[in-house]
């Protein structure tokens, strides 16, 4: 899924690709000082309504992952230290060739409609994910994409998932909400209504039950009083403390912030960095850097402008990114140096930090050297009468912060004589241009809890390979990384890739988005996962 921090997270996008949502338990978000209260309602303001994309198996929306976590449980859960702990599966075995995963299931789990959770339910759900009619992009790639071979029921409490090639991220991916479980009855009877979702349709086995949904306005969850199957080692075992979770859709960031400060809601997500100054001392702010690919520019190396590495490097160093990020995000987001976010497990190369800096002179010299030495009447560089110009395509809506950043980049590059034409296209038009390769650069950030996300961004033919890179050595490195489960080996391979990009400037990382959660002192016990997304099962109100 694409991720653009700020007031909008992306609705309706073009993603498939692997991404793992590791649940990093235990990041305590709020610690109220007051006494805990049983029951009550917590209201949570979010920016986007996942309307029409409520099916966890097919939705690509971050917001849906956040809003469905209370309802859907997964086979396993991942802790902060990266270890996978039992959840609905009590134990599992991986075959020696790493092609088969056999899970032993709890037998005391029921869905909120009374259906029993068993091996058949797992199979029904995984079959549903890969069924073409489901039109799944996200979940079907999390489950392994073309590597996934099938699921078989061994007995009611034993299920086996098979792959055609080793697929290291699977166990972590199995912890994601996208691989969560619907009641089989719902899959059988309401398959066509899953996307619309709502009470009686979005039915899982989680600590909360979706009890009311008003599109564009609110989602109400009531606690599941029978819940007794929290992940092993989770601080909150048993049913949730609060009676009700009330999610309000508040698209404007300023409105969300004011709703929080005025007490209209207790917690807000995706808080705009620019509005943090308005949040006073009585509120707890938790920022979590998003794992995956930071918000970056992808330079299309097949186009004349960017086929020359000198020009790419001059481009990357030709504008003052530090100042731009500071101006737009007010120190809330950090400038990115690598193509992986610092919180991406087993991969980040911290050595790259501070390695690149803005140097207009160097960029000018490099462009002169590359033959772009003449200037036209507008002050842009030319070579053989052709202007040094790049077409940047983005798809609408472009959130304000990114638009401001783009303006600063455009204006900065103008000063070294590099023209950037920023075309903001509707998704359909964008897709046409994107698939035709008719652009010099484009932009996005890609949220993922597994560094395997690079496979689609740099691998030959990868769907997110906006740079049109095709390098056998890179492909080989990516392939060995996905096949190994050893953390240090993976880190070594991904470090190599990060350094390669720093040298070649194929992707220009801009900043590391963060998920900013702000909550009032009235609430405590909200945990956040690896993405910074809130978990409400242990949350409570305080006096």
């Amino acid at each position: 899924m694409f991720s653009r921090p700020g007031s909008f997270r992306i609705a309706g996008s073009l993603a498939l690709v692997v991404s793992a949502a590791l649940v990093l338990a235990g990041c305590s978000a709020s610690a109220g000082t007051g006494e805990k209260v049983e029951g009550g309602t917590i209201s949570f303001g979010v920016d986007v309504d996942p309307v029409g994309h409520l099916d966890v198996h097919s939705s690509q929306l971050d917001i849906n992952a956040i809003l469905q976590r209370p309802v859907f449980d997964s086979l396993v859960s991942q802790k902060a230290d990266g270890t996978i702990v039992p959840w609905l599966a009590t134990s599992w075995q991986v075959s020696d060739d790493q092609l088969q995963y056999t899970f032993t299931l709890r037998d005391d789990v029921t869905f909120s409609d009374g259906e029993k959770f068993d091996a058949a339910a797992v199979k029904a759900n995984f079959d549903h994910i890969v069924d073409p009619a489901t039109e799944s992009a996200q979940a079907s790639s999390l489950i392994g994409g073309e590597y996934y071979a099938g699921t078989e029921v061994i007995d009611p409490t034993t299920v086996r998932v098979s792959f055609s090639q080793p697929y290291a991220p699977f166990l972590a991916n199995a912890a994601s909400v996208q691989l969560g479980f619907y009641s089989p009855k719902v899959l059988a009877e309401h398959a066509s209504e899953l996307k619309a979702g709502g009470p009686g349709i979005s039915v899982g086995s989680g600590p909360f039950i979706l009890s009311k949904y008003t599109p564009g306005s609110e989602l109400v969850y009531t606690k599941n009083p029978d819940y007794n199957w929290a992940p092993e080692g989770a601080t909150a075992q048993g049913p949730a403390t609060i009676d009700e979770l009330d999610v309000k859709i508040l698209p404007e960031s300023s409105v969300r912030t004011s709703a929080l400060t005025s007490g209209q809601v207790d917690v807000i997500g995706d808080t705009a960095p620019s509005s943090l100054t308005q949040v006073g001392d009585n509120f707890t702010v938790t920022s979590t850097e998003s794992p995956g690919v930071p918000y970056s520019l992808y330079l299309n190396v097949t186009r004349p402008v960017f086929s020359d590495v000198t020009v790419r490097k001059a481009f990357a160093g030709g504008f003052d990114l530090d100042a731009a990020v500071k101006a737009v995000f007010n120190d809330s987001y950090q400038r990115a140096y690598s193509i992986l976010g610092p919180t991406t497990p087993d991969s980040y190369d911290a050595a790259l930090e501070k390695s690149a800096s803005f140097d207009a002179d160097a960029a000018n010299d490099a462009l002169d050297a590359a033959g772009w030495s003449e200037r036209d009447s507008d002050g842009y560089r030319t070579k053989d009468g052709k202007r040094l110009s790049a077409r940047w395509i983005s798809y609408t809506p472009v959130n304000e912060d990114n638009a401001n950043l783009a303006n600063l980049i455009q204006d900065g590059l103008k000063k070294i004589g590099f023209e950037v034409v920023h075309d903001q296209l509707e998704p359909g038009a964008y897709l046409d241009a994107y698939l035709a390769g008719d652009y010099d650069l484009t932009d996005w950030g890609f949220l993922s809890a597994d560094a395997d996300v690079l496979r689609s961004h740099l691998g030959t033919g990868g769907y997110q390979n906006a740079s049109h890179l095709s390098d056998p050595e890179i492909d080989a490195t990516l392939a060995s990384a996905v096949a190994t489960t050893d953390g240090s080996t993976r880190a070594e391979l991904y470090t190599k890739l990060q350094q390669w990009n720093a040298e070649n400037a194929v992707i220009v990382p801009l900043y590391v988005p963060e998920y900013i959660l702000a909550s009032s002192d009235k609430v405590s016990g909200i945990e956040v996962d690896i993405h910074g997304w809130p978990l409400f099962s242990g949350a409570s109100l305080t006096k």
Binding site: A272, D320, A324, T396, E400, N407, L408, D411
Partner: protein
Amino acid sequence: MSGGLTGWLRGRVGLIAAVLLLVVVAAMAVAPWIFTPLDPLATDTSQVLQPPAWGHPFGTDQTGRDVFTRVVYGASYSLGVGVGATAAALVVGIIVGTLAGLAPRVIDSVAMRGVEILLAFPEFLIALFAIAVLGPGPVNVATAVGVAAVPAYIRVARAETLVVRRSGYVEAARGLGVHPLRVAVAHIVPNTLRPLGVIATIGIGTTIVAAAGLSFLGLGPQDPTPEWGLLLSGGRNLLGQAWWVAFFPGVLITLTVVSATVVGRRLRRAGEGRA
């Protein structure tokens, strides 16, 4: 019935102020460089969100651009859409409306049924639907608000045509054996033009507001285009810490529309006085 402030606004002073403001806005649209030496797109990371001061009379925005300069340059877009779309709608409205007014009753009533269907929709919704068909974008916004305005002009043009056509002087001309074509050219069209011109003057204001509304909703031009509605929309999340980013474009829109309305009403009263 008019006194105090109204008297002032309705009276000479108000009219002069309104005309003056329109002239200034028009000048901004045609020659923005007279008003400001700055570049509306020039960013400055050291001047982010500066409140209004000497160097930046309207303050600066999130990328350090001068809001005053952006407002000045925005005039060409907003006024361009206002005038362009209104003029186009007016021309279409006059042609269709006059023809319908002069056509045999059957054709007229068929045409009017169609217009009635279009009039069933609020102008703003027609513009929205037009955007749904055309897709977002600056030119499409102008087209959309133009299309939205057409039915009203058709209706007025037709109604005026019917009024003029049934007027004593058209009958008199007929009675003098003047050729119908000459009657249309010498009497009907000129006499329908005046009320239409008045409505169009006010319509420019309406159109500016509608176009700004579409931009505000993100259906018009994209950042960094300095369009007023977009400027306003860009400032909506900054209201808490930098009110000036949204405030000044809003004030300019309102003042421009007020001026167009004042001038339009003045023209209408002048027209009524003569009739």
